[in-house]
Each structure stands twice: as structure tokens, then as C-alpha cells.
């Protein structure tokens, strides 16, 4: 883990057209105050509409609550359980003049590891709620571990319910120290601690007068300013071809463009490229979108690339630089999270999707199952069940072109699907050979 960074870092701007986008996940278990915090963020950023608020006031009144329970704005894990609603990741939205936020709301209890993994897969940042009275508990560690496994670069520990510990600095310091000692083994670059009271709004949007000892910024300010531009890999050029645009019309008889979403690096016209798996080389003749030609393209732009030569390239192929190529392999080492009730079968065959390519794969070896609470590796484990995380070796029918997940979250991830039911059964994060 990198150093602990103070929240009062500089503001980064540089987007011509206003706001950018931050995806984050909130994790917490029952009663840590996650729903209250989410409600607070939406309420204080004026995302809550009158009819939603009316609905919540209504329900609060019916239940005999004195004050409006902002937690009701989200379904709330308890409410979901009571009503038999599916416990699942929910996505919510709010924005400020600086940023738009996509928030994945995932219950954090151990039986919902799969949901947290899902929500974490697209997140730049994770907020982990900790009850100030309880401090770092097993599940806070689990949340931090999953966030690091899924490559989330920024972690925020929101130490909640500070009002119940008299806004005491010592309590906060102790929790921070506890985690810092434990987290040395995790790979998270940026960890921040914010003492809050979600209920009263302390240090959520406004800086709290009750905690003058806290030198950092309120939670929302941190979300608005955390520097995310360098979270993507802008070094290794990776362009998985998604779709070939070939009108074959009278107007465009010879048009042939490779459409796709940039997965890594910065592409520029004139660059030498090699197409995998064929190994044919060419140059980028031009890059365009419907708005016209581009000088450069970077993740996650959806563009069309034209090559100088007519080489054979189709969906599932990958363009990259000749001197910077991904790993090409059929024997893969990966961490996977199992997502369905039916356990992972030894030598089970699955369909594997990686970037824009489906291949068939077989799990040849389960190396260990990881206890997500203790990080203990159980090498005697013979299968993975729902919500289990483990390290496996896979063999695919044809090679895939990949990078280690730690280097690129797009070219380093895959899913497994059952070949009969087509369900998605696992999420996978690739390791480099020998890692």
C-alpha cells in the first residue's frame, strides 16, 4: 500500500466541457449507516425530489418515526430483507457542479461478497463505513481487501456515528492506526479517513464545527476533487476490435473502420500497430468518431480506427504497438470470485469472455480458496461456492491477449459463463505468469 494521503490535496481540473464522472461504491454492513449516508449525499446535493421525499416522510410517519429517516430513500438492507426484495447492487446518481457521481450501493455482509465484487468492478473509489463505536471489524477488513483485489485505486474510510463517541479525536486516531497497521499487505494507493456523522451531516458536505481537530476535508469535497485521471493505463496501447464498420455502399465502397473502445494507452494517427493474433503490422491512418477526425484517442473513448493497409482484422482481435504487446497465452492464472450457488466444478468447462472475445476454457486447477476475513489460503480446498474467492489456473481453447489485472483492469479481467444455462458464474482477475 502507498502512503496515507491527506484529503486536502490539490484540486485537479482540465476538462473543457465541464464536469467529469466518478464511479464509486459504498460498502457497509447492516446498521453502519450506509443508507443514511447515501440518503444524506443525495439530499444535500438536492438530488432528492419532492415526490421521493414525500414517499419517505409518509413511510416514516406510518412507522411512527419522529424524524424523516433518510435511510428510507434507498431500500436499505434491513427493509429489503423484511420485504423479501432481492439483495443486489443498486445504482444511484447525484451530481455537483464539479462532478457527476455513479454510486454502486452494495450490501457488505459476507453472503453478499458477489454483490460487492460486482459493484467494485467499475468503481474508481470505495467508501467503507465503519461504526466509530466498533472500530475496524472483520468486515471492514474484508471490504478493504475486496476493494484492493478489484483494483480500486482510492479508499475512503468513513468513520461514522462520531456523535455517539462525543466526536472524540482519540477514537478516530485509534481506528486509523489499527487499519494502517493491518493494510500494509494491500495494494491500495490512496487511503483517506474521514470522521462523520451521517445522521447529523457532520463532515459529509459541510465541515463539522464539532470536530475542529480534523484537518481534512468533508467527504463530498474529497469525492469532488480526488484525482482520477491517472487511474487508467495511458501507457500500453490496447484496442480490442469490437465491430467492423463496412458499409459497402455506392457512397462508401471501400470504407473499412475498426470500431471499439480504447482499453489502454493513447492512440495517434501515424502510429505503427500490430494486430493480434495475426501479427500483421500496419499504421493508424486515421482515428475518428461521428464528430470527425481525432488527434488522439484514450480510454474509455469509443472510436473508429482506420489502418493504412488492408490487413485482415475482425472482432475479437486486438491492436497494439509492436514494441509493447500484451501477454498472449492459453494457460492463465487468475483470482476468481464465484457468483452462483452451483459450485465451481473441478475440470469444469466454461465459456470465457475477455475484452470482445469469447473462448472456451477449463479450470485445470484450484490453487487455493481465500478466507476473505483472515486472508488465510486454504490449499486443501476442492471447490469454490457462492461468494468464495480463490486462485485458479485455466486453460483456454485459443490464446487471449491480456495484461495483469493490476496493470490494466480492462484487459486483465474476464467473466465465466455456464455453457448450458449461459449464466455468469464467475468474475476473474488475471495475474501475470509467475506472479
Amino acid at each position: 500500500m502507498g502512503e496515507i494521503v491527506d484529503t486536502s490535496k490539490g484540486i485537479h481540473r482540465g476538462i473543457e466541457e465541464g464536469r467529469d464522472l466518478l464511479r464509486f461504491i459504498t460498502c457497509g454492513s447492516v446498521d453502519d449507516g450506509k443508507s443514511t449516508l447515501i440518503g444524506r449525499l443525495q439530499y444535500d446535493t438536492k438530488t432528492i425530489f419532492e415526490d421521493q421525499l414525500e414517499h419517505v416522510e409518509d413511510v416514516s410517519r406510518r412507522r411512527g418515526n419522529e424524524r424523516t429517516d433518510l435511510a428510507l430513500l434507498t431500500d436499505g438492507l434491513r427493509a429489503e430483507r423484511e420485504q423479501g426484495i432481492t439483495i443486489d447492487v443498486a445504482y444511484r446518481y447525484f451530481s455537483t457542479p464539479h462532478r457527476k457521481f455513479i454510486m454502486a450501493d452494495a450490501p457488505g455482509h459476507i453472503q453478499y461478497t458477489r454483490n460487492m465484487v460486482t459493484g467494485a468492478s467499475t468503481a474508481n473509489l470505495a467508501i467503507i463505513l465503519v461504526d466509530a463505536r466498533k472500530g475496524m471489524v472483520e468486515q471492514s477488513r474484508r471490504h478493504a481487501f475486496i476493494a484492493s483485489l478489484l483494483g480500486i485505486p482510492h479508499l475512503v474510510f468513513a468513520v461514522n456515528k462520531m456523535d455517539l463517541v462525543d466526536y472524540d479525536e482519540a477514537v478516530f486516531d485509534r481506528i486509523r492506526a489499527e487499519f494502517t497497521n493491518w493494510a500494509a499487505k494491500l495494494q491500495v494507493r490512496d487511503v483517506v479517513f474521514v470522521p462523520i456523522s451521517a445522521l447529523n451531516g457532520d463532515n459529509v458536505v459541510e465541515k463539522s464545527a464539532k470536530m475542529p481537530w480534523y484537518r481534512g476535508t468533508p467527504l463530498l469535497y474529497h469525492l469532488e476533487t480526488v484525482h482520477i485521471a491517472s487511474d487508467r493505463n495511458l501507457i500500453d496501447v490496447r484496442f480490442p476490435v469490437q465491430w467492423v464498420i463496412r458499409p459497402q455502399s455506392a457512397e462508401h465502397p471501400d470504407y473499412r473502420g475498426y470500431a471499439g473502445t480504447v482499453a489502454g494507452g493513447i492512440l495517434k494517427p501515424g502510429d505503427d500497430v500490430v494486430a493480434l493474433p495475426s501479427g500483421f503490422t500496419s499504421k493508424i491512418a486515421r482515428i475518428e468518431t461521428a464528430d470527425g477526425p481525432l488527434d488522439e484517442a484514450f480510454p474509455p473513448m469509443a472510436v473508429v480506427v482506420h489502418l493504412a493497409d488492408e490487413i485482415d482484422v475482425s472482432r475479437g482481435d486486438m491492436l497494439c504497438r509492436p514494441n509493447n504487446q500484451p501477454i498472449v497465452g492459453q494457460d492463465l492464472d487468475a483470482m476468481i470470485c464465484w457468483m452462483v450457488d452451483r459450485p465451481l466444478r473441478a475440470r469444469g468447462r466454461y465459456a470465457l469472455k475477455h475484452t470482445t472475445r469469447w473462448v472456451r476454457g477449463m479450470v485445470t486447477e484450484l490453487q487455493y480458496r481465500l478466507d476473505v476475513n483472515t486472508l488465510h489460503r486454504d490449499e486443501a480446498a476442492e471447490s469454490l461456492g457462492l461468494n468464495d474467492i480463490g486462485r485458479v489456473r485455466l486453460r483456454t481453447t485459443s490464446p487471449i491477449f491480456y495484461d495483469a489485472y493490476a496493470r490494466n483492469r480492462t484487459t486483465g479481467s474476464f467473466i465465466l459463463a455456464d455453457e448450458v444455462t449461459n449464466e455468469t458464474v464467475a468474475a476473474g482477475m488475471l495475474l501475470s505468469p509467475g506472479q
Binding site: 443486489d88 473502445t261 455468469t424
Partner: protein, 302 residues
Amino acid sequence: MPSYQLSHLRALEAEAIDILREMAAERERPALLFSGGKDSIVLLHLSLKAFRPARLPYPLLHVDTGHNFPETIEFRDRKVAELGERLIVGSVQRSIDEGRVAEERGPRASRNRLQTTTLLDTIAEHGFDACIGGARRDEERARAKERIFSHRDEFGQWDPKNQRPELWSLYNGRLRRGEHFRVFPLSNWTELDVWQYVKQEGIELPDLYFARRRQVFRRDGMLYSPAPFIPLLPGESVFEETVRFRTIGDMTCTGAVKSDATDLDMVIAEVASARVTERGATRADDKFSEAAMEDRKKEGYF
């Protein structure tokens, strides 16, 4: 030094284009559900950006209740002709004539519910295996957990308890025969995003979205457009008001809101400061019960 950061609208656009291309590649027979409403107009725009200069790899599919605003149909037909794309119309009137569904009776009769049957019949008739829709997760609580590739069983039903997990941008487009997907590229957009995008891209919308003096009548606290197929109840009368529509659906259940927003900038300002959600304000169909939307979605509604 450039920051290599996209604005939120560019990032949402890139995500939507990625979804459209992925769906076109993974499914054999997609269709774009085109209602003539702003979300479907934005989807059409994004589709053109994803696939031009080639033709779209899917037709537009409109479920016509026969009770649409005339402006919607005019707009639809003009767009289709302009773009030279293919349009398939599923007709609720035909479903009624063929006895597939029974028309509701009485002054509050609506064909809104009947659309589901027509849609599923049209999907089956053409063998569509993926229908692109404009639903957004911010619209309604039941939608917050909706997938981008939303799986429907052979009865067209949504099973919220058994959704496939969706990780990264690795969409699982695998299906068994008879099943299909609803694909929602605007999942992560809010109403305000849609409006700002309309402005950024200069997208043309039907005039219904802008405030004009219009004939309306009041029912259950909402304003509706009079139409020959909506008989007035005792005590109701038609009057003129400056209104616009925030959503455009079937005339029998799409309400108007009082507004002075006569152009795009004014609409954006209005939406930005709006205090009532889009559906809460103007869609009678969601008001029937709290769980109304979830129920209709399970049946195969959009």
C-alpha cells in the same frame, strides 16, 4: 499538459456506444424500441454515432397504441424517411382486432397495459433477441437494480431475483432459444444528462417537449391533452394552459406540466431545479401503486 479526462457527457456517450456495438455483435436480431420520446431519440442518435457511415444493424420498432400524439407519429415517420432506416410497427389496434387482448372500457380506459402483449407478439413474430430501450436507472426505484443487458425468459418476463451479475463492461450476451434481452444503454444517465446531451449534440425533439399554449383538461390533479378516445367525465372541461410534456407516451396516461420553458435552455434550467421526478409528475401509470412499475416490468413491459 492535456488531462486525458472526458466530460461526464462524453463518458456516458462512450459507454452507450460501447453497449450498442457490443449488443450488435453478440446478438443476431436486435431492434431499437423507438417511441418518439426523447430517450429513444437520443438512442437513435447514439446508434448513428456507433455505426455510421453504415446502415444501422437493427430496425426501429415502434409499439403503436393508436393513441399516440399525432406529433409523435409525424416525427417518427419523418426521421425514418430522412435516415433511410427500417421501421417495424407493432399495432395494439391489431392485437385488439385479433382478439389477443381486450380493450379496457370506461372513460379511464388506457391501452398502456395492452402494449406489453403487442410488444411480446412483435418480438416473437420477428424473432428479435435483443430490444434496445431508453430506460434509465434514475427513473424509478424498481429500476435502480436493472442490468444493462437485462435478461427476459421465454415468456418475456423479468426475474429480479435471478439477474446475471454484470461486471466491468463485460456484457454476457448469451441466450437460449426463445429468450431475449432488453438492453439499456442509457442506464447511467439522469434526466438532466439526457437534456444536456440533447443540447450538446443539437438533437431535434418533437415540439411537445416545449411549453406552448395547449388545450388541456384536469383529471386527478394532472393535466391531459383532450382526444376523441378520451371521453371527459362530468365536471371536466377543456381549457388552455401553457404546458409542456416531460415524457411522451400514450395520450391516455401522459400528463402535461405547467411550464414556461419554451426552448432547450429553459427546459434544462427547469429540469435542473425540478423538484418532482419525471415519472412522478406526469405518468399516471406509475401512480397506481408503489410496486406498479416492478409488477409491469416482470410481465415484460419496457
